[in-house]
């Protein structure tokens, strides 16, 4: 196919598509994995069933955004894909094991023969979610510091692992505030409140470490006029955290008002953090080593994907909205009939 866009525009378009996919993934599978992380925090089996039921119809489609994100990296920036995945070989393998355990536990726990069997799959569910969340955070930490070796980068990656896991637990708890009621909802409010501080600490840690690690990133944030132009970003993040904190203190509200606000607030935090990272690293796709323009594949091949994506992505968005409408409101028990 003859390319209809200049190569730079194509590379930018694909980088944008990839960014959207990754952001969609961390938000969507983020709340799934978060609910998984919190699964063992309640002693009530009925509540665990309800927690699983709240994500049952969604998790599969949510996880597909990861395939799209990695697929776009593979397809549009094959050299970067090779570099990143080779550097992250072990955490990727561990994450995949976590995602496998989490994904199959959905089905196996629903079909378990004995209560003990079900408990075991609960552990697989929670353990798989935790493994996936921690390894994703670890990979983010390694990526941010350009895969540097040494003690400090490893400590930073550990911090990022717990930061991302906390962020997932937070958005998962917010999802449960929205989608559940009664005692479980009260519990979810408490979970969200407790974990919000860890999330805030994680955001601060990454925000401080990134400019310190790279003079280029430092300049990007702290030179005039960038400092002033970018000030709204951290200010909004700070304000959002404070707002969420005071809202969560009073939830659940009478008539279950504002039940969905914490979730969208969490989405806002994810978007702001993602925007910050994007600003720090653009145009690098492998930090300080490879720009997205250097890594892009042949324009002909990118063009043919773009045509398909232009037709199909709106359709995907359409039926995703449809599924959200069908399974909107408070979660009920999942029934296969």
């Amino acid at each position: 196919m003859t390319p209809f866009l200049p190569p730079e525009t194509l590379a930018l378009t694909f980088a944008a598509l990839m960014a959207v996919s990754i952001l969609a993934y961390v938000v969507l599978d983020g709340y799934d994995l978060g609910v998984g992380l919190l699964l063992q925090a309640t002693p009530e089996e009925a509540e665990r069933d309800r927690m699983v039921a709240s994500i049952g119809p969604f998790w599969d489609a949510n996880e597909t955004w990861l395939v799209l994100g990695v697929g776009l990296l593979l397809v549009a920036f094959p050299v970067a894909h090779g570099m990143v995945l080779t550097a992250l070989y072990m955490p990727v393998a561990l994450m995949l094991c976590g995602l496998i355990l989490r994904g199959v536990a959905f089905e196996f726990r629903a079909k378990a023969g004995t209560p003990l069997d079900k408990r075991r799959w609960d552990w697989a569910f929670a353990g798989g979610s935790a493994l996936a969340a921690l390894t994703q955070g670890w990979m983010l930490g390694r990526y941010v510091l350009g895969f540097e070796q040494g003690l400090a980068p490893m400590l930073f990656a550990t911090l990022a692992a717990f930061g991302v896991a906390a962020a997932y637990a937070f958005i998962g708890a917010c999802w449960l505030i929205w989608r559940t009621e009664g005692a479980l909802q009260v519990r979810a409010v408490a979970w969200a409140r407790d974990v919000l501080w860890v999330v805030a600490a994680g955001i601060v840690a990454v925000s401080v470490a990134t400019p310190l690690a790279s003079a280029r990133i430092f300049a990007r944030w702290f030179e005039m006029p960038n400092l002033l132009l970018l000030a709204p970003l951290p200010a909004a993040t700070f304000g959002l955290i404070l707002g969420l904190r005071s809202l969560l203190r009073h939830m659940p509200l009478p008539d279950d008002k504002l039940r969905h606000v914490p979730f969208w607030g969490a989405v806002g935090l994810f978007c702001l953090s993602f925007a910050g990272l994007t600003w720090s690293f653009f145009p690098y796709i492998v930090p300080e080593r490879l720009t997205l323009f250097q890594a892009a594949s042949a324009p002909e091949s990118l063009s043919i994907i773009l045509v398909g994506a232009a037709f199909v992505l709106p359709v995907i968005l359409g039926y995703t909205v449809l599924a959200w409408c069908i399974f909107g409101g408070k979660a009920r028990d999942l029934r296969y009939d």
Partner: protein, 445 residues
């Protein structure tokens, strides 16, 4: 150990585990649609009961297929970075189209199909079932397009050692694609037919003889009787296509060491790669010439033409015999079963036991078939363009070995949990008392 070999074993383990589940879901999606449509047409509860039982197995298989498929998408990069660097311009768009046109579709509508029965109108639930079945088939289509192109690459040119697409139409419809796609879709149909028949026969023999078990059993047996002989013909056509495009693979499959006429059809033997001959050979004179060239004196290219560039003979030779042997047993059992159902309306106990024994025969034949075709392509990853060794990455053997052990443990655990869950679900059925020894299987509406 050699890291390339380890990377291959790891990829093979993963893809072998993965293929088990799509092989079930591709055809089971359509069977569920059939149950649903029969229910819509007849309002007969037994179709819906059959649907409800099999949709659980579908959901479980689907989940296993999804998670092992995600692992695959990463292993392209971790195990074969050279693959994407060299042929990414073709493999990339094909994989992207799979994600865009199939993955999201099936994943989203699966939620509605599984959990939406009481939440959406009946017609929307039927449409969700159609879209899930369509999505799984589309997914198979794109993957087989890519796989076929790797076997018989066309429609590209090399620029600075990198493959660039020149004709997408030719790439999608590469010479082996129609045969491979048909062969795999029928394989999925047969796997599901024997799974349906085998699980239902097991329930029937235990005395669980409700009308829903009976319709699933009938559906399975009739499906098998239609598909098994069809597969024989399609498989033969696929073989002739391979002879034209990948003669070295056929030579390995047949254990044919010399190019000559009157090539015998080797039923069994032990290929000896050093002596370049078969030991303890049992063969039908001129059989291979007859099948491949439709003439007893037809000259068939032998392995001597491809010394140094042909696949390892033993695994291809044995896997081919496992596939064909399983296939023949499937044809025989399916035809006998359908004959009995037609004439007597019932299956004798011995045939029911036969179906129980053959419950997972589709898996065996499918895996064996994939081993034939994939090992048969070696040493190439993309025929004539890229060898497997060239595509391997720099990951050290120790890392691959560790993760391989991890994956194998996980897969063994999950596979046993899967089969155990299948039988536990099947054992839940009510067992009626005073079961007559040879009760007729009720006719379907």
């Amino acid at each position: 150990m050699d890291p390339v070999l380890l990377a291959r074993i790891q990829f093979a383990a993963n893809i072998s585990f993965h293929i088990l589940f799509p092989t079930v879901t591709i055809a089971l999606g359509w069977v569920l649609l059939f149950f649903k449509l029969r229910f819509n047409a007849t309002r007969d509860e037994r179709w819906m009961e059959a649907y409800r039982f099999w949709v659980k197995i579908f959901a479980l298989s689907f989940a296993l297929g999804v998670v092992s498929g995600i692992t695959m998408s990463f292993q392209f990069g971790t195990n074969w970075p050279g693959f994407m660097e060299r042929v990414g311009n073709i493999a990339g768009p094909l994989l992207a189209y799979e994600v865009l046109t199939a993955f999201f579709l099936e994943a989203t509508f699966l939620g509605i199909m599984l959990f939406g029965f009481r939440r959406v109108p009946g017609w929307l639930h039927t449409i969700a079932t159609v879209l899930v079945a369509f999505g799984t088939t589309m997914s198979a289509f794109w993957i087989l397009v890519l796989n076929s192109w790797m076997h018989t690459p066309v429609g590209f040119e090399m620029r600075d050692g990198i493959v660039h697409a020149t004709d997408w139409w030719a790439i999608v419809f590469s010479p082996s694609m129609p045969y491979r796609l048909a062969h795999m879709l029928i394989a999925s149909g047969l796997t599901v037919a024997f799974l349906l028949a085998g699980m239902s026969a097991w329930r029937w023999l235990r005395g669980d003889r409700g009308p829903a078990v009976a319709v699933a059993l009938r559906t399975g047996v009739i499906m098998a009787a239609i598909l098994a002989p069809t597969q024989l013909v399609v498989g033969d056509l696929h073989g002739l296509n391979t002879l034209e495009h990948q003669p070295a693979k056929i030579a390995a499959m047949e254990g044919n060491w010399q190019t000559r006429g009157n090539v015998p059809l080797v039923l069994f033997g032990i290929p000896d790669e050093r002596a370049r001959e078969n030991r303890f050979e049992i063969a039908i004179p001129s059989g291979a010439s007859l099948i491949l060239k439709h003439s007893p004196s037809g000259v068939v290219p032998g392995l001597d033409q491809f010394e140094g560039l042909h696949p390892p003979v033993k695994p291809v030779f044995y896997a081919f015999r496992v596939m064909v042997g399983t296939g023949m047993a499937m044809v025989a059992l399916a035809l006998l079963g359908a004959g009995y159902l037609w004439r007597r309306g019932t299956l004798p106990t011995v045939l029911l036991r036969g179906f129980v024994l053959m419950t997972f025969s589709g898996w065996l034949a499918t895996l064996a078939g994939w081993y034939v075709t994939e090992i048969g392509r070696q040493p190439w990853l993309v025929t004539g363009v890229l060898t497997t060794a060239q595509a391997a990455g720099p990951v050290p053997a120790a890392s691959i070995g560790t993760t391989l052990a991890m994956y194998l443990t996980l897969y063994a655990l999950l596979l046993s949990a899967y089969v155990a869950t299948l039988y536990r679900l099947a054992a839940k059925g009510r067992i009626s008392e005073a079961v007559p020894g040879n009760a007729p299987i009720p006719q379907t509406a």
